[in-house]
């Protein structure tokens, strides 16, 4: 083995221009492969930048995507989503029935009617969580002095009221009022969970959400706990992160038993009772479509260019080695085994293509000044395919008639 390596090294160094041909071919191919990998890497970076800069939102809906609040989302689902790597900023609401009159132990039927027609007290963790105010052109609430939209992140017992409620109660901004609250659920008995809450009115808004009051998230959560009812969410919207790994996120949604509303017909019955999850990634999809196609196309060409590289390895080696048939025949005649003879020629190809590859890498570094894993992968792939082609060319030498070559008269 050492002998063949030594003689290969000696042969490569003495073969001059023939060795330079292999060096040059290897260098040019490495340059091509690194440039090719670089083009893909740059597009991958562009794709990552687009994913970072274009916001993708997600929203829990009913099974067919037509309802986005009053969803009764269980705590476990929210916790699992929050624990994943895909949830960025989040917007939640939950609500209770809001009555302006005292409870006074009504009979069941009357209670059912009263709660069905009751106003709603909605807790939100941010103004953006409230669909009426989230749109850019939405009419925003008027706040009492010292208050603004940041009140939703506080734990104060304050609320903003719809104009109709404010007028019907004959209240003004800054007034406090003791409301009756009750669980917003199907009424099964007269013992329906209920209580009282005193809220200061610190804002007012007009349409379209009539008969509603909005309070901070912490305030309504405390009210839920006071009433002893389980925490559920009415609505949940998110800014999604790691959108490059959307497949994994979709797998998580599937595991959490979410439906994709786009796959459910609007009037379908199947799936009712399950929740849906809508991902708003249309802008991102549109913006990244071209880049993804380019990356996909370039990546899919790898097998073809590796095959070409193997072909070049075969042709270059075959043409050069064909001239060296006598050498191969002499080796065999002197008792060098087939394997050793093959190795002697193969090592030479390995040494020269490695040296050419190293020069190619240096040239690439000078030209593009970047090194990335895809380049390394591409060069490794090139070397394997090129040497496979070269090995095939050398192997054809074993089929020649040794004695005919050796006895050819000059």
């Amino acid at each position: 083995m050492l002998h063949t390596l030594k003689s290969s090294l000696r042969s490569a160094s003495r073969r001059k221009w023939k060795s330079i041909i292999i060096l040059a071919v290897s260098m040019v191919l490495v340059l091509f492969f690194t440039m090719y990998a670089n083009a893909i890497t740059e597009h991958i970076a562009t794709l990552a930048a687009l994913h970072k800069s274009i916001a993708v939102t997600g929203q829990i809906t009913n099974y067919n995507g037509t309802v986005t609040d009053d969803l009764d989302i269980q705590k476990e689902i929210i916790r699992e989503l929050e624990a994943s790597d895909f949830i960025g900023e989040r917007f939640y609401t939950r609500n209770l029935c809001l009555l302006t009159e005292p409870w006074e132990e009504p009979e069941l039927r009357e209670l059912q009617n009263r709660l069905m027609n009751a106003a709603r007290l909605v807790g939100a963790n941010a103004i953006e969580a409230i669909p009426e105010f989230a749109a850019e052109d939405a009419i925003q609430p008027q706040y009492w002095e010292g208050y603004d939209a940041s009140l939703f992140t506080s734990s104060e017992k304050v609320c903003i009221l719809s104009e109709d409620l404010l007028q019907s109660l004959n209240l003004q901004l800054g007034d406090s009022f003791k409301f009756t609250i009750a669980e917003n659920a199907r009424v099964e008995s007269e013992d329906h969970p209920h209580g009282e809450i005193a809220l200061q009115i610190v804002g007012v808004f007009s349409g379209p959400a009539w008969r509603k009051a909005y309070c901070p998230w912490n305030t309504i959560t405390a009210a839920y706990e006071d009433l002893g009812i389980p925490l559920t969410w009415d609505s949940a919207r998110f800014y999604l992160e790691n959108t490059l790994k959307m497949k994994e996120f979709k797998a998580l949604l599937s595991r959490l038993n979410f439906l994709s509303p786009y796959e459910v017909e609007q009037d379908a019955i199947t799936g009712q009772g399950r929740l849906g999850f809508v991902i708003n990634d249309r802008i991102l999809t549109k913006a990244t479509g071209g880049v993804k196609s380019y990356i996909g196309f370039m990546t899919s060409l790898y097998p073809v260019i590796y095959l070409l590289s193997a072909g070049i390895g075969f042709v270059v080696s075959y043409l050069l080695i064909r001239l060296r048939k006598p050498e191969f025949a002499i080796m065999r005649s002197l008792g060098t085994g087939k394997g050793m003879s093959f190795l002697s020629f193969f090592w030479e190809q390995v040494l020269l293509s490695l040296l050419g590859a190293a020069l190619g890498v240096l040239l690439t570094l000078t030209l593009v000044k970047t090194v990335n894993p895809l380049q390394a992968f591409s060069i490794a792939g090139y070397l394997v395919s090129y040497l496979a082609g070269a090995a095939l060319a050398i192997a054809t030498m074993n089929r020649m008639n040794i004695i005919q070559i050796l006895t050819a008269k000059e």
Partner: protein, 223 residues
């Protein structure tokens, strides 16, 4: 005592158009200490015979036996490394190795260390009447006679018992040719090697101890 024996050896191959019987049921025993000449016209089977004796091929029928072992049953690479050497008309030296490196090659193949191989190769080159000045020359820098001497030195350096020579003087002038024949005869008669020369040159054949004529794949002993 015979060292290399042909036992009812036949060799048949198929070319594009027909089946060719290059050697037909040949039997003969070669002995150490003698020079043999195998003569014959082109196409008489000389090259096939050389290939079979050198262990580069095996007979399609019969056996070539070297010291009790058939070449078809032995490690023929080892046989060519240690027991038999071939000298060709075209010298067949490695073009990118110096004269010294060419002679060192068989020793390195046997695993002899570089320093010792160098010493033995140098001695062998000197034994074929070439001086130190040729050591570092590449084959293209040597005359035909010098190249053939280097080829002989390379053939002898691993101390083989059988030496095959294919038209060894074919590319040489009369004087150099005579010198090479003298070296070969000396190898047989003084150093007790079995020397087999394949040739169509009757002048060389006359200097052999035994002449074998090959015709249409069959061998005949000449007086």
């Amino acid at each position: 005592m015979s060292i290399l024996t042909l036992k009812d050896v036949s060799y048949t191959y198929k070319n594009k158009y027909q089946k060719v019987e290059a050697v037909k049921s040949v039997s003969f025993a070669f002995q150490q200490g003698k020079v043999y000449a195998i003569v014959g016209k082109s196409g008489s089977g000389k090259t096939t015979m050389l290939s079979l004796l050198a262990g580069l091929d095996i007979p399609t029928a019969g056996q070539v036996v070297y010291q009790d072992t058939a070449t078809s049953e032995m490690d023929r690479d080892k046989y060519r490394r240690e027991d038999v050497a071939v000298i060709y008309q075209a010298y067949n030296l490695f073009p990118l190795l110096t004269a010294l490196e060419n002679v060192m090659y068989p020793l390195e193949l046997q695993g002899v260390k570089s320093k010792e191989a160098k010493l033995r190769a140098a001695e062998m080159i000197e034994s074929v009447d070439l001086g130190e000045e040729v050591f570092k020359r590449f084959p293209t820098m040597l005359s035909g006679g010098e190249q053939q001497r280097i080829a002989i030195a390379r053939a002898l350096v691993s101390d083989p018992k059988v030496i095959l020579a294919d038209e060894p003087t074919g590319n040489l002038d009369t004087e150099n040719g005579a010198n090479i024949v003298a070296i070969l005869k000396n190898l047989a008669h003084v150093k007790n090697r079995c020397v087999i020369i394949v040739t169509h040159d009757l002048g060389i054949a006359q200097q052999a101890d035994v002449v074998l004529r090959l015709g249409d794949g069959e061998i005949a002993l000449e007086a």
